[in-house]
Subunit: 112 residues, 2 copies
DNA sequence: TTCCTATATAGCGATATAGCTATTTATCGA
DNA sequence: TCGATAAATAGCTATATCGCTATATAGGAA
Protein backbone atom coordinates (compact mmCIF):
# COMPACT_ATOMS: atom_id res chain seq x y z
CA UNK A 1 0.00 0.00 0.00
CA UNK A 2 2.00 2.93 -1.27
CA UNK A 3 0.61 6.44 -1.36
CA UNK A 4 0.23 8.51 -4.49
CA UNK A 5 3.06 10.84 -5.54
CA UNK A 6 0.77 13.80 -4.89
CA UNK A 7 0.07 12.66 -1.36
CA UNK A 8 3.75 12.13 -0.80
CA UNK A 9 4.46 15.62 -2.03
CA UNK A 10 1.81 17.02 0.28
CA UNK A 11 3.28 15.13 3.20
CA UNK A 12 6.76 16.42 2.39
CA UNK A 13 5.49 19.96 2.03
CA UNK A 14 3.70 19.76 5.37
CA UNK A 15 6.76 18.29 7.09
CA UNK A 16 8.92 21.04 5.60
CA UNK A 17 6.48 23.63 6.92
CA UNK A 18 6.69 22.18 10.41
CA UNK A 19 10.47 22.16 10.35
CA UNK A 20 10.52 25.70 8.95
CA UNK A 21 8.36 26.89 11.82
CA UNK A 22 10.96 25.51 14.22
CA UNK A 23 13.94 26.83 12.29
CA UNK A 24 14.06 30.26 13.93
CA UNK A 25 15.98 30.73 17.19
CA UNK A 26 13.48 33.32 18.35
CA UNK A 27 10.56 30.93 17.97
CA UNK A 28 12.45 28.15 19.76
CA UNK A 29 13.19 30.58 22.57
CA UNK A 30 9.49 31.37 22.83
CA UNK A 31 8.58 27.69 22.87
CA UNK A 32 11.20 27.00 25.52
CA UNK A 33 9.88 29.86 27.63
CA UNK A 34 6.31 28.61 27.33
CA UNK A 35 7.23 25.03 28.13
CA UNK A 36 7.55 26.05 31.76
CA UNK A 37 3.92 27.12 31.68
CA UNK A 38 1.42 29.50 30.04
CA UNK A 39 2.33 33.20 29.94
CA UNK A 40 0.92 36.47 28.66
CA UNK A 41 2.66 38.44 25.93
CA UNK A 42 4.00 41.00 28.38
CA UNK A 43 5.32 38.28 30.65
CA UNK A 44 7.09 36.74 27.69
CA UNK A 45 8.51 40.10 26.69
CA UNK A 46 9.79 40.59 30.23
CA UNK A 47 11.22 37.06 30.41
CA UNK A 48 13.01 37.15 27.07
CA UNK A 49 13.90 40.78 26.47
CA UNK A 50 12.51 40.55 22.94
CA UNK A 51 10.52 43.42 21.41
CA UNK A 52 6.76 43.26 21.90
CA UNK A 53 6.02 43.43 18.19
CA UNK A 54 8.32 40.56 17.35
CA UNK A 55 6.97 38.46 20.18
CA UNK A 56 3.41 38.98 18.97
CA UNK A 57 4.40 38.21 15.40
CA UNK A 58 6.26 35.00 16.22
CA UNK A 59 3.61 33.84 18.68
CA UNK A 60 1.22 34.29 15.79
CA UNK A 61 3.36 32.10 13.56
CA UNK A 62 3.58 29.39 16.23
CA UNK A 63 -0.16 29.56 16.88
CA UNK A 64 -0.96 29.40 13.18
CA UNK A 65 1.23 26.31 12.95
CA UNK A 66 -0.78 24.72 15.75
CA UNK A 67 2.02 24.66 18.32
CA UNK A 68 0.41 27.20 20.64
CA UNK A 69 -3.04 28.10 21.86
CA UNK A 70 -4.17 31.63 22.59
CA UNK A 71 -6.62 32.58 25.30
CA UNK A 72 -7.93 36.07 25.97
CA UNK A 73 -7.87 37.17 29.59
CA UNK A 74 -9.35 40.62 29.75
CA UNK A 75 -6.76 42.91 28.32
CA UNK A 76 -4.16 40.16 28.12
CA UNK A 77 -3.49 37.25 25.84
CA UNK A 78 -2.19 34.11 27.44
CA UNK A 79 -0.35 31.57 25.31
CA UNK A 80 0.31 27.92 26.08
CA UNK A 81 2.00 25.03 24.30
CA UNK A 82 -0.89 23.09 22.81
CA UNK A 83 0.73 19.87 21.72
CA UNK A 84 3.10 17.47 23.53
CA UNK A 85 4.46 16.80 20.06
CA UNK A 86 6.53 19.98 20.33
CA UNK A 87 8.18 18.80 23.51
CA UNK A 88 8.89 15.38 22.03
CA UNK A 89 10.42 16.92 18.96
CA UNK A 90 12.58 19.36 20.90
CA UNK A 91 13.72 16.68 23.30
CA UNK A 92 14.72 14.44 20.42
CA UNK A 93 16.72 17.21 18.79
CA UNK A 94 18.35 18.33 22.02
CA UNK A 95 19.34 14.76 22.82
CA UNK A 96 20.91 14.48 19.41
CA UNK A 97 22.87 17.69 19.93
CA UNK A 98 24.15 16.45 23.29
CA UNK A 99 25.11 13.09 21.84
CA UNK A 100 27.05 14.82 19.08
CA UNK A 101 28.76 17.08 21.57
CA UNK A 102 29.83 14.10 23.65
CA UNK A 103 31.05 12.35 20.53
CA UNK A 104 33.12 15.40 19.65
CA UNK A 105 34.64 15.48 23.13
CA UNK A 106 35.45 11.78 22.92
CA UNK A 107 37.06 12.34 19.53
CA UNK A 108 39.15 15.16 20.95
CA UNK A 109 40.26 12.89 23.82
CA UNK A 110 41.34 10.33 21.26
CA UNK A 111 43.34 12.93 19.39
CA UNK A 112 45.41 14.05 22.36
CA UNK B 1 21.54 21.86 37.52
CA UNK B 2 20.68 24.54 34.99
CA UNK B 3 22.96 25.46 32.12
CA UNK B 4 24.36 28.91 31.47
CA UNK B 5 22.43 31.33 29.25
CA UNK B 6 25.22 31.14 26.69
CA UNK B 7 25.03 27.37 26.53
CA UNK B 8 21.27 27.60 26.19
CA UNK B 9 21.65 30.02 23.34
CA UNK B 10 24.12 27.72 21.65
CA UNK B 11 21.75 24.79 22.06
CA UNK B 12 18.89 26.80 20.60
CA UNK B 13 21.00 27.97 17.69
CA UNK B 14 22.10 24.42 16.95
CA UNK B 15 18.53 23.11 17.14
CA UNK B 16 17.37 25.90 14.81
CA UNK B 17 20.12 24.93 12.38
CA UNK B 18 18.97 21.32 12.38
CA UNK B 19 15.36 22.29 11.80
CA UNK B 20 16.38 24.73 9.07
CA UNK B 21 18.26 21.97 7.28
CA UNK B 22 15.06 19.94 7.23
CA UNK B 23 12.84 22.84 6.23
CA UNK B 24 13.30 22.49 2.47
CA UNK B 25 11.04 20.11 0.52
CA UNK B 26 13.89 19.30 -1.85
CA UNK B 27 16.14 18.17 0.96
CA UNK B 28 13.39 16.08 2.53
CA UNK B 29 12.81 14.47 -0.86
CA UNK B 30 16.52 13.62 -1.05
CA UNK B 31 16.48 12.17 2.46
CA UNK B 32 13.39 10.14 1.67
CA UNK B 33 15.03 8.82 -1.50
CA UNK B 34 18.19 7.86 0.36
CA UNK B 35 16.31 6.18 3.19
CA UNK B 36 15.69 3.26 0.86
CA UNK B 37 19.45 2.84 0.54
CA UNK B 38 22.67 4.54 -0.61
CA UNK B 39 22.72 6.05 -4.11
CA UNK B 40 25.06 7.97 -6.36
CA UNK B 41 24.30 11.50 -7.48
CA UNK B 42 23.26 10.40 -10.96
CA UNK B 43 20.99 7.73 -9.53
CA UNK B 44 19.37 10.36 -7.33
CA UNK B 45 18.97 12.70 -10.27
CA UNK B 46 17.31 9.89 -12.24
CA UNK B 47 15.08 8.91 -9.32
CA UNK B 48 13.88 12.41 -8.47
CA UNK B 49 14.01 14.34 -11.72
CA UNK B 50 15.81 17.19 -9.99
CA UNK B 51 18.64 19.08 -11.70
CA UNK B 52 22.11 17.72 -11.10
CA UNK B 53 23.44 21.01 -9.79
CA UNK B 54 20.68 21.37 -7.23
CA UNK B 55 21.04 17.77 -6.13
CA UNK B 56 24.77 18.25 -5.54
CA UNK B 57 24.19 21.49 -3.71
CA UNK B 58 21.51 20.12 -1.40
CA UNK B 59 23.40 16.87 -0.79
CA UNK B 60 26.24 19.12 0.27
CA UNK B 61 24.01 20.94 2.74
CA UNK B 62 22.74 17.65 4.19
CA UNK B 63 26.26 16.25 4.43
CA UNK B 64 27.58 19.40 6.07
CA UNK B 65 24.76 19.10 8.60
CA UNK B 66 25.86 15.55 9.38
CA UNK B 67 22.76 13.83 8.01
CA UNK B 68 24.55 12.17 5.11
CA UNK B 69 27.90 10.54 4.45
CA UNK B 70 29.70 10.78 1.15
CA UNK B 71 31.87 8.04 -0.27
CA UNK B 72 33.90 8.30 -3.48
CA UNK B 73 33.55 5.35 -5.83
CA UNK B 74 35.81 6.02 -8.76
CA UNK B 75 34.14 8.68 -10.77
CA UNK B 76 30.98 8.52 -8.68
CA UNK B 77 29.93 9.80 -5.28
CA UNK B 78 27.67 7.61 -3.24
CA UNK B 79 25.61 9.13 -0.45
CA UNK B 80 23.98 7.40 2.48
CA UNK B 81 21.93 8.48 5.48
CA UNK B 82 24.46 8.55 8.30
CA UNK B 83 22.29 8.83 11.36
CA UNK B 84 19.16 6.94 12.47
CA UNK B 85 18.25 10.23 14.14
CA UNK B 86 16.98 11.50 10.80
CA UNK B 87 14.59 8.60 10.43
CA UNK B 88 13.34 9.02 13.99
CA UNK B 89 12.75 12.71 13.45
CA UNK B 90 10.95 12.23 10.15
CA UNK B 91 8.81 9.45 11.54
CA UNK B 92 7.78 11.61 14.48
CA UNK B 93 6.81 14.47 12.20
CA UNK B 94 4.98 12.26 9.71
CA UNK B 95 3.05 10.62 12.53
CA UNK B 96 2.03 14.04 13.77
CA UNK B 97 0.86 15.06 10.32
CA UNK B 98 -1.23 11.91 10.01
CA UNK B 99 -2.72 12.40 13.47
CA UNK B 100 -3.66 15.95 12.57
CA UNK B 101 -5.18 14.82 9.29
CA UNK B 102 -7.29 12.23 11.09
CA UNK B 103 -8.33 14.83 13.63
CA UNK B 104 -9.42 17.14 10.82
CA UNK B 105 -11.43 14.36 9.21
CA UNK B 106 -13.09 13.57 12.54
CA UNK B 107 -13.89 17.26 13.01
CA UNK B 108 -15.45 17.39 9.56
CA UNK B 109 -17.56 14.33 10.39
CA UNK B 110 -18.72 16.13 13.52
CA UNK B 111 -19.67 19.20 11.52
CA UNK B 112 -21.90 17.36 9.05
C1' DT C 1 48.72 13.34 -21.84
C1' DT C 2 44.04 13.89 -23.70
C1' DC C 3 39.23 13.06 -23.78
C1' DC C 4 35.01 11.89 -21.39
C1' DT C 5 31.86 11.51 -17.76
C1' DA C 6 30.37 12.45 -12.89
C1' DT C 7 30.26 16.04 -9.43
C1' DA C 8 30.92 20.36 -7.57
C1' DT C 9 30.69 25.20 -7.72
C1' DA C 10 30.18 30.17 -9.29
C1' DG C 11 27.15 33.79 -10.19
C1' DC C 12 22.48 35.51 -10.77
C1' DG C 13 17.51 36.92 -10.32
C1' DA C 14 13.61 36.08 -7.56
C1' DT C 15 11.46 35.26 -3.26
C1' DA C 16 10.67 34.87 1.65
C1' DT C 17 10.93 36.57 6.08
C1' DA C 18 13.32 38.47 10.39
C1' DG C 19 13.36 42.48 13.21
C1' DC C 20 12.79 47.41 13.24
C1' DT C 21 9.64 51.66 14.04
C1' DA C 22 5.31 53.38 14.14
C1' DT C 23 0.55 52.81 14.29
C1' DT C 24 -3.89 50.51 14.97
C1' DT C 25 -7.08 47.69 17.42
C1' DA C 26 -9.13 45.85 21.59
C1' DT C 27 -10.41 45.82 26.32
C1' DC C 28 -10.63 47.49 30.88
C1' DG C 29 -11.40 51.07 34.54
C1' DA C 30 -12.73 55.74 35.81
C1' DT D 1 -17.59 58.28 26.88
C1' DC D 2 -12.72 58.79 27.53
C1' DG D 3 -8.24 57.67 28.46
C1' DA D 4 -4.73 54.10 29.41
C1' DT D 5 -2.63 49.82 28.63
C1' DA D 6 -1.97 45.20 26.09
C1' DA D 7 -1.57 43.15 21.87
C1' DA D 8 -1.64 42.96 16.89
C1' DT D 9 -0.37 44.75 12.57
C1' DA D 10 1.56 47.77 8.63
C1' DG D 11 5.38 49.10 6.08
C1' DC D 12 10.27 48.96 5.65
C1' DT D 13 15.20 47.40 4.97
C1' DA D 14 18.38 43.85 5.18
C1' DT D 15 19.56 39.25 4.56
C1' DA D 16 19.41 34.46 3.34
C1' DT D 17 18.83 31.05 0.03
C1' DC D 18 16.26 28.62 -3.65
C1' DG D 19 16.71 26.98 -8.42
C1' DC D 20 18.64 28.32 -12.66
C1' DT D 21 22.57 28.38 -16.28
C1' DA D 22 27.08 27.92 -17.15
C1' DT D 23 31.50 26.51 -15.89
C1' DA D 24 35.19 24.31 -13.23
C1' DT D 25 37.13 20.23 -11.08
C1' DA D 26 38.20 15.37 -10.56
C1' DG D 27 39.02 10.87 -11.75
C1' DG D 28 39.06 6.94 -15.15
C1' DA D 29 40.05 5.14 -19.76
C1' DA D 30 42.38 5.21 -24.14
Amino acid sequence: MSSSPALNEALIAEAARIFATLSEPTRLRLLKTLMAGPLTVSEIVAATGLKQGNVSKQLGVLTQAGFLEREREGNFARFRVSDPFVQELCRLVCDKIERDAHARVAALRGEI
